[in-house]
Symmetry: C2
Subunit: 253 residues, 2 copies
DNA sequence: CACTTTCAATAACATACGTTATGAGTCGAT
DNA sequence: ATCGACTCATAACGTATGTTATTGAAAGTG
């Protein structure tokens, strides 16, 4: 899973927007691979902003530790995701990031990113689009935290994971590996671990979710999607035609 | 209030990153002013993404209308803010935007934005930084929706508005004009209007917030900030030195 | 000026969720 | 095999917040 394989970049490439140089430049962000252990903290809140990362293997999450002793998990990162763009333009991290399980990440520097922007406005637009898409997921989470009940939050969370994992071929027969504890899920959904457990039981009783330890099966993904009125554009949609056209025009000019 | 007056662009300019051409280019986004009425919908959810806007006067908000009949307000836009970057890279709007009171907006097109990216990587970086900052506010809201009680959410919301309004000189003697109904505040904070009213009463009784219709006074802003442990970096901080340096290097090269 | 509509305060009641506690699996370390 | 540390399920109980309703004040409309 490289950045070239993401929806956004695939969209650009399939429309001939990316030159060979662009591709080399993009992949140069992933030259520096590093193995990381489960639970390893990539950076803490308030650390200096020095680098960004591409996740190659494993799951990570960004989080905030709060004054009242609780934690809010902001986002789950899967292979192919860029970590850290949240802090672009800030001198201190706004959130910590830690690995959930072991994996491989590719750090790259501020400078590499700026060089990329300077050399290719197509890639710049692509990176912005990628960042905006991550934000769209966060916005969706915000909506669920604000206006939906626990069972809808959990159903939405699981279905979103399901779609994202399907994109990277990590779903088999409607089942997937999910290394999150119920406490972590609660921290992501603004619920207590106890209530996450209750809610899982409820979804199980309704035949919507089966779970055994770290393996989750959605027997009928469509039913789950209907329950939460899932709109998948923000995950699956490739870049709009207008976007591609402008970029190829700019390239030629 | 123009884009050149925002924290991000001020930061770039004061470090000599922006050329005269850059400034002209940036201000060209604001050539096309239009007066809008209170309550006017700038665009609906699922509309085509054709343009973005700079708010010159008045308040606006982005929102989602939900299947369960409720609404979630995502963000309040004040003069100087860019509206619509949330949808960059999508063909359909992810959220509707409407004016709260009457005002003036400056629409600009996808094409204008791409031309700006192509002509100036400094401005591209600046626009990204601006977008990321807006997202930081949203992330902060998410944290409050997930892990804080009603009085903390409201206190945080009011204090954030206070800081943002202070930045644009719209605060006098710790008081400001706030054209939001309690229902709208509830839709922003994930609360019922009734509970917003209760919570206002509570904050009033504690001497933290005075309110008369659309006029709000924070008698002791610091006390309010302490209550919510407000971290103002994401609103007040200018761009980090490293950021500026890279950009001026790129410009010379 | 009447008339309606909107907005806000407050009360009474209902409930979803948090908190605390307990016991049963599971896993890794020794 | 034994132990401790996690993780999870479930129950009992408390509470913050939602819902519905009533009233009054303010603002818009003819």
């Amino acid at each position: 899973m490289t950045l070239l394989d993401t929806v956004v970049m695939q969209g650009l490439d399939s429309h001939g927007v990316l030159t060979a140089d662009d591709k080399t430049l993009l992949l140069s962000l992933e030259l520096n691979a590093r193995r990381v252990t489960a639970g390893e903290v990539l950076w803490q809140e308030v650390a200096d902003v020095d680098l960004f990362c591409v996740v190659k293997e494993g799951w990570a999450y960004s989080y905030r530790n709060l004054g009242n002793g609780s934690m809010q998990i902001l986002k789950i990162y899967l292979p192919g995701d860029i970590i850290g763009m949240r802090d672009f333009g800030f001198s201190r991290r706004l959130a910590g990031v830690a690995m959930i399980n072991e994996g491989v990440i590719c750090p790259f520097s501020y400078q590499q990113l700026f060089e990329l922007f300077a050399r290719s406005s197509s890639l710049a637009a692509g990176i912005i689009a990628t960042t905006v898409r991550q934000q769209a997921m966060l916005t969706e989470r915000l909506v669920y935290l604000g206006r939906y009940a626990a069972h809808e939050r959990l159903a939405h969370f699981l279905y979103e994971l399901y779609l994202r994992l399907k994109r990277i071929n990590a779903v088999e027969e409607n089942g997937f590996f999910m290394p999150l504890s119920q406490e972590q899920i609660g921290d992501a959904l603004g619920l207590s671990a106890v209530h996450v457990s209750r809610t899982f039981s409820m979804l199980r009783d309704e035949g919507l979710v089966e779970r055994d330890r770290q393996h989750v099966v959605l027997p009928d993904p469509q039913a789950l999607a209907r329950l939460v009125e899932f709109n998948d554009t923000y995950i699956d949609e490739s870049l709009p035609p207008a976007f591609q056209n402008f970029l190829s025009l700019n390239r030629i000019a």
